[in-house]
């Protein structure tokens, strides 16, 4: 469904949202460990998301990644779009460049329903809402 890069991105964003609740900044090593991802790889991804304004960061001692409160209101769909683009939400299921009600592929209508369903779900999934589950150990981001 998502690229591996995007999976790491979502995991990292939720992890940082969770860990930086109290105003702390979270270092890249802690993030990499916390979501079980290659350190330099997730660093690149977060730098990219940082440039795009989805997450904040600061260099130096006590530096790390964190969220300004507005950023916490971003949705998983925002992250997906930033990393993988919007093909998942608007692209043809069979990969045709042009596919619409005007010139539908064979499974166009079945797919449109699914895509709308996915978009709807991911639009309504805000980063902030996933922190409590982690805090209360009801949900998990690693398998260790």
């Amino acid at each position: 469904m998502f690229s591996k890069t995007c999976e790491y991105a979502i995991r990292a964003m939720i992890f940082v949202a969770h860990k930086s609740k109290n105003g702390n900044r979270v270092g890249i090593k802690e993030i990499a460990k916390g979501i079980d991802s290659p350190e330099h790889f997730i660093a690149k991804i977060l730098q990219d998301l940082g440039k795009k304004g989805f997450i904040q960061s600061m260099k130096g001692p006590n530096g790390g990644f964190y969220f300004e409160s507005e950023s916490l209101n971003h949705s998983i769909a925002d992250v997906v779009t930033a990393i993988d683009g919007d093909k998942l939400f608007y692209g043809c299921g069979l990969g045709l460049k042009e596919c619409s009600a005007a010139k539908p592929c064979p499974i166009h209508y079945e797919f449109k329903e699914i895509r709308d369903n996915i978009k709807n779900m991911l639009d309504n999934a805000k980063l902030a809402q996933f922190t409590d589950g982690l805090t209360n150990h009801l949900t998990f981001l690693t398998r260790k």
Copy 2:
């Protein structure tokens, strides 16, 4: 959602189902043109699906790909599973190896709904049902 290989596979299967209705066999060149894919690449894919019993073929003059009637009853889900595996239907949305109600990732329940939805739709989409749309020019497999 699907790999490119899988997109080509679905397009080819529907195309052959459509073209071989009358008992004709469809050559690989015609298929490649008909679904706008690299010839040798789709050949490999169909050979693979042939070995797995999802499509039939015959060599030599008047040879090509075709369907025995039972094969036409296969679903798009069958094709997807044969090519991409069942990660889409059962895998974790965030790529965790182990993710279940017992140890859910943060978005587990939201995702389960979507996955079930996708599986249900693709299970119920049989190859045979997409041929009429092509015959009646209500649906399309290329953009030419």
